[in-house]
């Protein structure tokens, strides 16, 4: 990428056209945006450099594949882009920041020719330089070189002299190692310049573009209308004051750029390309031909670009058509799918209705079946109730029969005999000083209650209460959890304190651990359930007298005995013993229990 920096009226269009003759070069002259106002704003500080940099980067193309070439094709040539515009000369710092790798070409023209040309164009003439270019031309006041009054006193000629010198110095100072090219010698320097810019070797034809035409030298048809002037103004037309003014402003720089300038006219720098040629060629015609060739090449490139653009558009259109076809196909597919879904939904709706009908039928069948079953159950229950009534009637008959009453009476007699003999034994024991007998005469706290039933704490046969039940309903495990063969003791503990009850339970468990082989079920009216709950000890609770409020006039003793009968029926213990909970009697009870257990045969199994 490269930029041709110049002050204007210096051959910027010419060099752009010439360099564009190279196949891999595209140099534009003053492309859009021309940055007229932006450059002015940048100079006056109204436009920040960063903003101008961003504008430059976004508006100026960098080197890249030639138009129409495949961007991925490494073999395609890279087009070198260039721009030739005098406005760039005002914004070189921003240009350098935007494109730090770009090359700078410093195009100069003999100041005398430039000033004459610009003066003829009306630069700095307030009556003629009213366009945007004129309003935004730099002034010496803006750049701080002179004051307003001085600037106002300068004629356009002097202003142009200042301008040529000032801006060229600016370019020399700001540009990045620019390559100096004198437009007058472009034909001699173009090959070297092209090589420096990396352009392909080309037979450049240097023609002068943007030149002026007069009536004496009519404008060829291809030339721009605006280049027609009434009369040429050259250095030959300068006054002596103008020469002096020019020398004051531009003399030093002219000495650097055009040594010996004071002795040579401006048009003496050009090479005589036609000198010595045997062919006499009309220079104007040749220039015109070259101009036309250059423009033709330019238009050729434009046409190639347009052709490529047309191809791209055709490709785009084809792509859009393909997408349209695909969308149509997709729409048709969706339509088919939607239709299938609609069909499926209708089908499922019908199936759902059918299933619901079936479900309703099944529900009705189920309700009917339930009702029938309920009726059957009621019938069976009624029959069972009748059967039960018959069984109970039979039982009543048996209980009331003479045979049963006789047998019961005999049993009671037998029981009284045993009871009498036990009381005799107790009385005998009581008479002895030996304290091993249980204290069955301990006064109950509730003196209104009858004494708790005495128990046989000697070895005793199976309790007579268990005769009516064929077998035990429950098997109480011993302390080891074994349910096989353990002898079952039913231990009655009446009206104990919680602590006494806990002591009894604890000491019995100690016996169980020590002796083993027997299981225990407690029967008590105590409400200290936690004593049994902690270790999961089986116990049966008979509500104490103060709580029992059952039906009828039954006294507590009778209630208790009936409940005991029930429990004996269920558990069928091998032994029933009364445990005195108080400290005094407890030792005796435990001793009796121990003696009973120790007296058990080793091979005797419970049950």
């Amino acid at each position: 990428m490269f930029f041709v920096l110049n002050v204007g009226r210096s051959g910027s269009r010419t060099i752009a056209q010439v360099l564009s003759q190279a196949p891999n070069c595209r140099c534009e002259h003053e492309p859009e945006p021309q940055l007229v106002e932006e450059a002015h704003a940048y100079r006056t500080g109204d436009l920040a450099q960063e903003d101008l940099v961003e504008l430059l980067r976004s508006s100026r193309p960098v080197d890249g594949p030639a138009e129409g070439a495949d961007a991925d094709d490494d073999a395609a040539s890279t087009e070198v882009r260039g721009e030739s515009a005098n406005r760039l000369s005002f914004v070189i710092p921003a240009l350098r920041e935007a494109f730090p790798n770009a090359q700078h070409v410093w195009l100069v023209r003999d100041g005398r020719a430039m000033v004459s040309s610009a003066l003829q164009r009306g630069w700095y003439d307030p009556d003629r330089d009213a366009m945007s270019y004129g309003r935004h031309r730099p002034t010496a006041v803006q750049l701080g070189d002179v004051d307003e009054a001085t600037w106002a006193s300068w004629e356009p000629f002097e202003r142009l002299c200042w301008y040529w010198a000032r801006l060229n110095r600016q370019i020399r100072e700001d540009a990045d190692d620019p390559r100096l090219v004198r437009v007058e010698q472009l034909d001699q320097e173009v090959d070297a310049l092209a090589t420096w810019l990396g352009l392909e070797p080309t037979s450049f034809v240097v023609t002068r573009a943007n030149r002026r035409y007069t009536d004496d030298e009519p404008r060829p048809p291809h030339a721009r209308r605006s280049n027609h002037v009434d009369q040429l103004f050259t250095v030959d037309d300068w006054t002596s004051d103008q020469h002096e003014t020019f020398r004051q402003h531009c003399g030093d720089l002219m000495d650097d750029l055009y040594p010996g300038w004071a002795e040579r006219p401006p048009d003496s720098w050009a090479s005589s390309t036609a000198a010595g040629s045997e062919e006499v060629i009309d220079q104007h015609l040749l220039a015109g031909v070259h101009e036309q060739l250059a423009e033709l090449r330019f238009f050729q490139q434009e046409m190639m670009a347009l052709r490529q653009e047309r191809q791209d558009l055709r490709t785009q259109v084809q792509g859009l058509e393909d997408r349209l076809d695909a969308c149509i196909q997709e729409r048709d597919d969706h339509h088919d799918a939607r239709q299938r879904l609609t069909d499926a939904r209708q089908r499922l709706t019908a199936e759902l209705a059918e299933l619901r009908d079936r479900a309703d039928d099944l529900q009705r069948q189920l309700a009917t079946a339930r009702e029938e079953r309920r009726t059957q159950v009621t019938t069976l229950k009624t029959e069972a109730a009748a059967q039960l009534r018959r069984e109970r009637a039979r039982r009543t008959e048996i209980l009331q029969s003479r045979t049963y009453r006789t047998a019961l009476g005999l049993k009671r007699i037998s029981s009284r005999v045993r009871s009498t003999s036990r009381r005799a034994a107790l009385a005998f024991d009581r008479a002895l000083p030996d304290a091993t007998a249980p204290d069955s005469t301990r006064a109950s706290r509730d003196t209104s209650r009858p004494a708790a039933p005495a128990a046989d704490h000697a070895l005793a046969p199976v309790s007579p209460w268990a005769e009516h039940v064929a077998a035990r309903l429950v098997t109480v495990p011993d302390i080891d959890g074994s349910v096989d063969g353990a002898v079952l003791y039913a231990l009655m503990v009446w009206d104990p304190t919680p602590d006494d009850l806990a002591s009894v339970v604890q000491e019995v468990r100690t016996l169980q651990r020590g002796l083993g082989g027997f299981a225990v079920v407690y029967i008590t009216d105590s409400e200290a359930f936690h004593v049994f709950r902690t270790d999961g000890i089986v116990f049966e609770h008979i509500p104490p007298a103060r709580h029992r409020q059952g039906p009828g006039d039954e006294d507590w003793a009778s209630f208790r005995d009936r409940r005991l009968a029930l429990l004996m029926e269920a558990y069928r213990p091998n032994h029933v013993m009364l445990m005195s909970p108080g400290a005094e009697g407890r030792a005796g009870s435990l001793a009796a229990l121990e003696a009973s257990v120790r007296a058990l045969p080793v091979d005797r199994q419970g049950g």
Partner: protein
């Protein structure tokens, strides 16, 4: 022939829920209907102390008794009690009618069998239990404030002719509540303080020490007076931080006016007592229950604005809940929302239903032997 009588059978739940509900109904039975309670709950003596005729038997699994033998024992005992007390109606309160009970039902078709079955079962639990309803002539369903959040199996059986739903059942009557001064005196606390009742589960099979301890300490740190009821059936007493009061009272409801707020689990009786008597509460549901969907009650309370709820028992959530509960404006809002609910007590209606059933059964030909 004596008065019509109802025999209430209750299970050995983790708390006194089933027993409390049976007593709530029984004490409201109109004369001359009376009742007896046969329970597997260790709280039997407590009920008996209140004057209820109570029979007790240990529950299955106790003492290493084989389960099959226990059912036979239960059947044997129940027959004996039926012979002794001659009820016309037998009501079972529990989630699963045991085999021993079902055998007796089949053997005593002359009686009217009722299943008092609480709702709010956890989804997917106990659906097979409901098949046993065919053994019962009636099913009584104690009402739930959180009914709309009920996702359990019992919801499928509502609306059947033999299923009777009532309002939530609460044991205590409003006229049994003491005034604040009396209640505080009974508890030994200052009526001018901010008194908070903390009851986070029976403690038999739930570890309440971590959550309960944190809540109690938080309340104490903020100047509240904390009272922790100790259930009479608790096997081990929980460790309670110093400064908290303990009380072992049954029933506790008459003393509720002593409390400005409560932190409680959402078991049936506790939850409905607190909401019925408008005690502003922070509910911490116990999610390890086998059947009871405590979480649903807590969520309903939070949604309905009648209580605060904490579902995650992390300390941050508990702390936020406690702090919010101690805000008097929040408590006022919660109490107002509770009072806006239906004030009726399902125990009254259920007692009427039982009495009607008992009388109609009593007038039939008695199953005499």
């Amino acid at each position: 022939m004596g008065s019509p009588r109802i025999l209430f059978l209750t299970t050995n739940g983790a708390g006194l829920g089933h027993l409390t509900r049976s007593v709530a109904i029984g004490r409201r039975l109109p004369d001359p209907v009376d009742y007896v309670v046969f329970t597997l709950s260790q709280a039997a003596p407590i009920i008996a102390d209140l004057g209820v005729v109570t029979e007790f038997m240990y529950s299955h699994g106790f003492g290493g008794i084989p389960v099959a033998q226990w059912h036979d024992l239960y059947r044997h005992r129940l027959h004996a009690l039926l012979d002794r007390y001659e009820p016309t109606v037998v009501s079972f309160d529990g989630t699963y009618p045991y085999r021993g009970l079902v055998n007796v039902i089949d053997e005593r078709p002359d009686l009217t069998w009722v299943w008092c079955r609480r709702a709010m079962w956890k989804p997917g639990v106990g659906e097979r239990n409901l098949e046993l309803a065919e053994h019962f002539a009636h099913v009584m369903e104690p009402g739930e404030f959180a009914r709309e959040f009920d996702r359990g199996a019992t919801t499928q059986h509502r609306g059947a002719d033999h299923v009777h739903g009532v309002a939530p059942v609460v044991q205590a009557r409003r006229d049994e509540l003491l005034d604040r001064t009396q209640a505080c005196r009974r508890l030994g606390i200052d009526p001018d303080g901010t008194n908070v009742l903390v009851q986070l589960g029976a403690g038999n099979n739930i570890d309440t020490e971590t959550t309960g301890g944190f809540v109690i300490r938080r309340l104490l740190d903020r100047g509240a007076t904390v009272v922790v009821p100790v259930s009479p059936i608790m096997v081990t007493h929980p460790r309670i931080p110093d400064g908290a009061h303990t009380v072992s009272v049954y029933p506790l409801a008459p003393l509720l006016p002593a409390f400005d707020a409560s932190v409680a689990a959402t078991g049936y009786n506790t939850f409905h007592e607190l909401v019925h008597f408008a005690v502003p509460s922070l509910f911490v549901p116990v999610t390890t229950k086998e059947v009871d969907d405590q979480l649903a009650r807590a969520r309903w309370a939070d949604t309905a604005g009648v209580g605060l709820a904490v579902e995650d028992e992390d300390q941050a959530s508990l702390a936020r809940g406690v702090d919010e509960l101690l805000d008097p404006h929040v408590r006022a809002r919660l109490a107002a929302a509770c009072r806006a609910l239906d004030p009726s007590n399902g125990a009254d209606e259920m007692a009427r239903l039982y009495a009607d059933i008992a009388r109609s059964g009593h007038d039939r030909e008695p199953a005499s032997h």
